[in-house]
Amino acid sequence: MIKSVSAILACLLLYGILIIPFTHYLHNKPFVEKLGYVPSVAALKTIAANHKELVAASLVLKVLMYFGGLFDKSDGQITIPPDYMAMSRLLHGAVRLDPYNMDAYYFAQGFLTWDVKQFKIANELLDYGMKYRTWDWYLPFLAGFNSAFFLKDYAAASKYYQRAGELSGSDLSKLLAGRYMQESGQTELAMAYLTAMEKGERNPAVKKNYQIRLTAFREASRIEIARDRYLETQGALPSTVGQLVSEGLLLPPPRDPYGGQFYLEVDGKVATTSKYAFAGVKK
């Protein structure tokens, strides 16, 4: 009896000693390691048997947790570059298991466009989703934005927005289909899109992501307004953002939340060295 009790006590003591470094190790495990690797979709389909929707949902949640973890640990700033390739692979796998999973399309749209600049892949994924989610206005709305803002394919954008408008009956998509299909309205288009996305977002990490991007575009919009006023008064385009600040047209000076520097291109277009992404800032 005494031997057994001593053995139990010894094991409990060892467990107590071990559990703290063990938890610490898991808590600080590198992000990439945490995202891990998953088998091919063909293998997953076999293993999942009749639970494909569950496996798809778990893949999406895995990516969300991973991304949310990156944000939490760095207090709203991504300092460790996320493994976008693995994230994309997992989300593509998820929609092949469950082509109706909206979370996968929605989240993939978020990073495939702004961060990875894979606009065509993003639209191909959305096109794939549209074949299944035939009632959903969100997918053509997102694809329309990608076509107009990133791909400058205004004919395709108009078609997508038309479809989104028909499905939702909402005025926003119809408005976007007609009004913003020109180069000059790009910042306005981005702000309208980001405001709509941010408003409907519940996931804190993704919401924060939209808020940061929206702040950056609001700053760009301020510069555009100041630039136009400069053009009105001086009769010529300013060559730098600093000129607008020194003339008192742009106060306080604009700040890029991604850590980049705003500048004016030769044709007066507002741009930033960060390209509206943390990954765009060269260190």
């Binding site: 048997a49 929707e53 949902a57 969300l64 947790m65």
Partner: protein, 263 residues
């Protein structure tokens, strides 16, 4: 047969299997919390998790109750005393099967009610863009239960030829896994992607496709989760397939069990 059916049901309750299910069903309480992690489909995720949990519990029930029921009786020599009564072996086997199948159906109803509650709660917290079609959800759970009843019939067939529980339990698990992918394999071997496959392999795969139960037809989760319409013709064909396939398995099991030597 009715007596055996009742005794089987009573035996399952006496073994506290139902209490075990209720403990496992506590996992339903976690579903709204997990589902709230979704960005755009909280209700859909709670439906996915609820239906998968029900399916998982029914899988455990059919494998372990179906795979051990008959074997346990033979091992403990209950069959000697029971079959000494004016009762045919066939009635005994069908009674045992009926009791187990009825319990799985009962579990599906109880768990289904819990799932309805969970989905209703999740949908009030975060309303879904898609309508929740309660009738499709009920049909999905019922058809899923029929799939597991078919699996119990498979377990009984293995039990009639086996002298240990290894074949019924592991054979049933293997059949469950194979039955879930037969349709995919069939589609693959009849597509252009399989042109390099030898004709013999294709013939064997086709033969297995017709031999093994096709569980793919019993999966209506995607219809229930996203409120998609259930094709009536497909549903009727699935029900007919269930009746015929279960009939084949049970008549085969009865024939083997009648001839089985018990010492």
């Amino acid at each position: 047969m009715h007596h055996i059916l009742k005794i089987t049901l009573k035996g399952i309750f006496r073994d506290r299997v139902f209490q075990g299910i209720m403990v496992t069903a506590c996992a339903f309480l976690l579903i709204p919390g997990i589902a709230s992690l979704s960005m755009r489909q909280v209700t859909e995720l709670s439906l996915t998790l609820s239906l998968s949990l029900i399916s998982f519990i029914m899988l455990l029930l059919s494998v372990f109750l179906g795979g051990t029921s008959l074997w346990k009786d033979i091992e403990r020599r209950y069959t000697f005393s029971v079959l000494g009564l004016p009762l045919s072996r066939q009635s005994y086997l069908l009674g045992r099967f009926g009791g187990t199948a009825l319990f799985v159906l009962l579990a599906a109803v109880v768990l289904g009610i819990a799932a309805f509650g969970v989905v209703l709660y999740s949908s009030t917290l975060y309303p879904s863009e898609r309508p929740i079609v309660w009738s499709t959800m009920a049909i999905c759970i019922l058809i899923d239960a029929l799939k597991y009843i078919l699996l119990i019939a498979v377990a009984f067939l293995f039990s009639t030829v086996s002298t240990s529980f290894f074949l019924p339990v592991f054979g049933t698990i293997a059949t469950f896994l194979a039955g879930g992918v037969t349709q995919q394999v069939y589609e693959y071997i009849h597509s252009a992607a399989s042109k390099d496959l030898s004709p013999l392999v294709k013939q064997i795969a086709t033969g297995l496709y017709y031999l093994l139960p096709n569980f793919g037809a019993f999966d209506l989760k995607v219809n229930a989760i996203y409120g998609l319409p259930v094709p009536v013709e497909g549903l009727l064909l699935t029900l007919a397939y269930f009746v015929v396939y279960a009939g084949i398995l049970l008549s085969l099991s009865s024939a083997i069990f009648m001839r089985r030597e018990m010492k």
